[in-house]
Symmetry: C2
Subunit: 284 residues, 2 copies
């Protein structure tokens, strides 16, 4: 009798929630989707129990969220750390978590967006190579959200080029951020060197005057002025502005690009929605 | 017949609105109050017509607001430039206005708060000496707002020590900011050197999670970490947070002070209200 064919080692993805809590029912749906797309145990998706904790606004206290993040990041058995969802809270962990990352953390992939951008930025500032802005498990709550989650898995498991934002190329440095999150890390230890990068920005549930103010802030930073250019993703569910702001999001970005001398390269296919594509930090 | 007694030169105060529009009826009330308190033409209060312009969200287009600010700032006949009101828009002028300031601008007093903090910060970064955080003409709209406006005039005209926030002393360096405004100028050309300063912060109409995030940002900046300490003014009209943030504003500030090693010195008597006291930038 021949030896059984050796199974390829499964891709092990750990999920942590450094910001807001994930609904366990959503985690089950994501696990089912992963099992259906990658049958035979080819993908092991492990939701850290911390994802489902509650402490006020957050998925558990700062210490619990930091510990869960470090457990997954520093465990060499995991290939990737996937941010469960955004909300708010990642920045509260950053100064504790970043100095405790071990070599196993550097070897790992990271995927998330929105509030997760605080930690992605800090990891990039530390020289981590496998970071990307893209869908999270919580996106399955959106109508048609399975497509976003499948895209994230295709990136994490297969490095599927179809998951990528269309302007991402082999030689162009890129990075992507939520506008408000990037604004709130400028001038801190979380700010990475983005010289020569094409920066893609997206936003949701903000008033236009806030987007304008954040883009003043971002484009007035001397580090950001060394970027190769800016692309604008989708700004969704804009909140009312009183008085009416008049300018739309693309007029705002082109205004600040012109003022700051940063080239504007057009739109990017990212945002708080199911079409949100993957944007790696750095080159592919 | 004896010569008439020489009249002292009047204090001339120019008002500009680099952010949102001022209601002309409020300007009339402020002028009447100034005339009543300083009779015989001892104070000349000049509202630049730009204060009453409208362009979308703003008191006129960027160019009109910048021109009015420069007209008053660079005119040696004015002793002070008083910011008409906050809202949003000062940061949009900063990079155009600051390089065009002439020696007459440096000799002048400036008073305002909230959105005006963007320009006050930029002026302080340029080495201007007579800047203060305090009430504006628009404060007359508040119930009992005459007290705030009278306090501002007492500072601008008489340098009345009773106008000052109680912890302001002759030798302590101080500065005061709206939390969101300070956050949005960190890491830009507007950020002044605040080494050794007691920093006083206030906020209005924000959600607690935003205040927490902005205080992460502020206290994580290496320049701010050189401050002597932080005092917390009032955080008024806090908007609902979903889920409930649990922590109050003083718990948030003490959290971030402890994390960052910046001493917390207690409360400050400033805020978006009629009790808002004057805080000079630098020493008295």
């Amino acid at each position: 009798m021949p030896d059984p064919k050796p199974q390829p080692r499964p891709t092990r993805i750990g999920v942590a929630a450094p910001a807001s809590r994930l609904d366990p029912a959503l985690a089950e749906r994501v696990s089912a989707l992963a099992a259906a797309r990658y049958p035979g145990g080819a993908v092991e998706l492990v939701f850290h129990p911390q994802c489902f904790q509650t402490s006020g606004h957050f998925a558990g206290e700062d210490a619990a969220r930091a510990a869960a993040f470090l457990e997954i990041a520093n465990d060499p058995a995991f290939d990737a750390l996937w941010f469960a969802r955004g909300g708010y809270g990642s920045c509260r962990l950053a100064e504790d978590v970043l100095p405790k990352l071990e070599p196993a953390a550097q070897a790992k992939s990271y995927l998330g967006y929105s509030d997760a951008g605080s930690l992605l930025a800090g990891l990039y500032a530390l020289g981590f190579q496998n970071l990307a802005h893209g869908p999270m498990p919580s996106d399955i709550r959106r109508k048609g959200g399975e497509a976003a989650v499948a895209r994230a898995l295709a990136w994490l498991v297969e490095r599927d080029p179809d998951a990528l934002e269309a302007s991402v190329g082999a030689t162009t440095k890129t990075a992507a951020f939520n506008i408000t999150i990037l604004s709130h890390l400028l001038g801190t230890f979380l700010q990475p060197d983005l010289t020569g990068h094409v920066l893609m920005f997206e936003e949701t549930e903000e008033q236009m005057y806030r987007i304008d103010r954040a883009l003043f802030h971002i484009t007035s930073n001397s580090g950001i002025r060394k970027a190769a250019g800016i692309r604008l993703g989708r700004c969704s569910d804009i909140l009312p502005n009183d008085p009416e702001f008049v300018l739309g999001e693309e007029e705002i970005v082109t205004h600040w690009c012109a003022k700051s001398g940063i080239p504007y390269f057009g739109r990017a296919d990212i945002g708080h929605d199911i079409d949100n594509k993957v944007v790696p930090f750095g080159t592919l």
